[in-house]
């Protein structure tokens, strides 16, 4: 039986991925910060899909714990989805270093710390899939969320380097840039419908891309074009925009 480790299992996208993987018969290990949330996710998946699900408390910010966390897993996973991260508050992050650092650590440093360990394990096995949920926000810094964006940019670059390194070892690394998704995180944002994906749609696209061994995906094709334009606006114009 194939197994999957979901890091940041309580996010809506991660949860949708867990459901699909459970349906496909994967053994799941859910990892998240709060034990209560893990218990609920476990009972839900077990009742709905008649599978057995493991859980493990995981704190992305507690870097020192990552090695023992990974060694403590009952089996070494075939698929790892790295879905944790926080949006944070840009304005507060500009004033308060602790806030700023938390956004950087939760979206970048923490991911690097745990995926280094995962990567070494998969490299030595010579197989596996690593899926990182990054963001279109990482493609160009914008005044409204450049702290989050720069952390995601770092994460995207890290994943592309990891892919380059692990390709020869038979390990695939998939970078996901979801664009707008209808989740708890975005509940009060008036998201434009044609640009907004549902978590289930995201999960389906991710697992399909992973199966095909793709490197990088947007969920809704239109985002590829939007980001192409945003990336190519000359800086002397871009700096004057309020984005």
């Amino acid at each position: 039986m194939k197994s999957a480790l979901i890091l940041g299992a309580s996010s809506d996208i991660a949860n949708a991925c867990s459901e699909l993987l459970a349906r496909q018969g994967y053994h799941l290990t859910l990892a998240a910060r709060r034990e209560g949330a893990l218990r609920t996710l476990k009972s839900d998946l077990e009742i709905r899909f008649k599978v057995s699900v493991s859980t493990q408390v995981f704190d992305a910010l507690d870097f020192d714990s990552h090695r023992s966390f990974y060694q403590g897993l009952s089996n070494s996973p075939d698929v790892v989805i790295c879905a944790f991260g926080i949006l944070g508050n840009q304005e507060q992050a500009e004033k308060d270093w602790e806030q700023c650092k938390e956004i950087l650590d939760a979206n970048f440093t923490g991911a690097v710390s745990i995926l280094n360990i995962v990567a070494n394990d998969m490299a030595s096995k010579g197989s596996g899939t690593i899926i990182g949920i990054s963001s279109v926000a990482g493609e160009r810094g914008r005044m409204s969320n450049y702290v989050y964006g720069s952390a995601k940019a770092g994460f995207t670059t890290y994943l592309s380097g990891l892919r380059n390194r692990l390709h020869k070892k038979g390990v695939n690394v998939l970078t996901v840039k979801p664009g707008f998704v209808q989740t708890k995180m975005t509940e009060n944002l008036p998201l434009p419908k044609p640009l907004t994906a549902q978590p289930e749609q995201v999960a389906k696209a991710i697992l399909k891309a992973a199966k095909k061994g793709k490197s990088e995906i947007y969920i809704l094709g239109i985002w590829r074009w939007i980001m192409l334009i945003i990336r190519n606006i000359p800086e002397f114009i871009f700096k004057k925009l309020s984005l």
Binding site: A37, T40, D44
Partner: protein, 442 residues
């Protein structure tokens, strides 16, 4: 964010907060809890809304004894996905599977088996409520009984329903043994209901545009859960088949006045005439039997951008069906009723504040247009004079007096809301309109 419930009226600007598993109240000032927004009017609307949709996990399922526990935001279609393959069914279900379990409790919903199985909450073992003090209180018909009674059909005014444990109904197959009988007028229809009191499920559709001898003609549908030996070969291959996801979405808001006397008459004639024989017998899946309208997602768009009002009332049985006849006359004179008028006989129900009571219940849609509100006010009076009352879950406009006259426990309900919800933290546009809670002055 602009938000409306199923009838697209009223539309309010609202701040929404998704309840996760914090165990904390999401707002410190007046808000209302909302599930999937399938009540019709303003019962789950206010300027601040706690959305339960992400709080939707299955917590426990005792497959041997048919007892199920889930978080309140789980919708009935998801419950069915879990229980049906294991040979269980919902004890009571309304006409759509897209409502949340929390909503089912807050409205104490009824179904086609009301005369037989009562309301949804008659099958609830216990529930957890996040109260105004911030405590989570478990209540049931044995523990914190008064709170349980008041929460049942209490429209979310006693607290936030967090999780619910309820008993399921054992089934051999997910198919329904359906009999459909034509009735040429209201008297015959009522006789058919009475003759078939032992049927588990019964409901009827009536043609409210008919006059004279055909007044109230319609079709009565009776159903039983089909046994394995009643299924045909194809059905027998997968006797516990689940519903399929709906693939059809009503594409856009229909132009104004799309439902008028002519289209409704055409629909009614076709619907009534479709069945040639007096009685038809068939084995059909539960989905078309219980949820015919779920097949078309966003069907509410047929009433156009202005929305519609759904109107549901119950009147006790009189000496004859004359009261009901008069109500039908009044509706026919007005002329703009919907094609789907649903009539059912309720059985006995003696709850603290829930809608059903022994008698006739009628549900119909009216597209919003000039004069509708005045017409419904007049109709309200007629229903009250007949000793009837109105369903809060469908309501968006009734006057305070209508509620207080129709519900014998209204005054006590207000006292209990004050007791459990002293600062009116839980408050909807509907509860403010009906004087059940008061808008707090800032």
């Amino acid at each position: 964010m602009k938000i409306a419930n199923w009838s697209n009226y009223p539309i309010v600007d609202s701040q929404i907060s998704s309840y996760t598993d914090s165990g904390k109240l999401p707002f410190s000032e007046a808000f209302i809890t909302r599930g999937n927004g399938r009540c019709y009017g303003d019962s789950s609307l206010n300027n601040q809304i706690a959305s339960m949709l992400s709080y939707n996990k299955a917590l426990e399922f005792d497959i041997q004894n048919g007892v199920f526990t889930c978080q309140a935001g789980m919708t009935l279609d998801r419950v069915l996905e879990i229980i049906v393959p294991n040979g269980w069914f919902l004890p009571v279900t309304p006409g759509t599977k897209f409502i949340s379990v929390g909503g089912a409790v807050a409205s104490n919903v009824h179904g086609k088996n009301h005369h037989y199985d009562g309301c949804f909450n008659d099958h609830v073992v216990s529930l957890d409520l996040l109260t105004a003090s911030g405590e989570i209180v478990t209540c049931s018909s044995e523990e914190n009984v008064e709170l349980f009674e008041t929460t049942s059909g209490g429209m979310g005014l006693t607290g936030m329903i967090l999780q619910v444990t309820f008993r399921l109904k054992k089934i051999e197959s997910s198919f329904i043994d359906q009999r459909s009988i034509k009735a040429k007028n209201l008297d015959e229809l009522v006789d058919l209901f009475r003759e078939n009191e032992n049927a588990t499920y019964s409901v009827s559709w009536i043609d409210c545009l008919q006059t004279g001898k055909s007044k109230g003609r319609g079709l009565i549908l009776l159903g039983e859960h089909a046994r394995i030996d009643q299924l045909n070969t194809k059905q027998g291959k997968n006797p516990l088949k689940l519903h399929q996801a709906s693939k059809v979405t009503f594409p856009l808001n229909a132009p104004p006045n799309s439902t008028n006397k002519i289209t409704v008459k055409a629909f009614n004639t076709a619907y009534y005439g479709k069945q040639l024989s007096k009685e038809q017998h068939s084995i059909i899946h539960y989905d078309p039997f219980f949820y015919p309208l779920d097949a078309i997602l966003k069907w509410n768009r047929i009433y156009g951008k202005k929305g519609f009002l759904q109107y549901q009332f119950v009147i006790p049985f009189g000496q004859s069906n004359e009261g009901m006849q008069r109500v039908l006359d009044k509706i026919r004179e007005y002329g703009h009723a919907s094609p789907l008028v649903v009539l059912k006989l309720f059985g006995k129900q003696d709850d603290f504040i829930s809608f059903p009571m022994e008698g006739f219940t009628l549900a119909l849609d009216f597209p919003i247009r000039r004069g509708l509100f005045e017409f419904l006010d007049a109709l309200d009076k007629m229903i009250l004079d007949l000793g009837g009352r109105h369903y809060l879950t469908k309501d968006a406009r009734m006057a305070k007096e209508t509620f207080f006259k129709g519900y014998p426990n209204a005054e006590e309900f207000v006292r209990r809301i004050k007791k459990y919800n002293p600062n009116y933290l839980f408050s909807s546009l509907q509860s403010e309109r009906l004087g059940l809670t008061q808008k707090t002055q800032e």
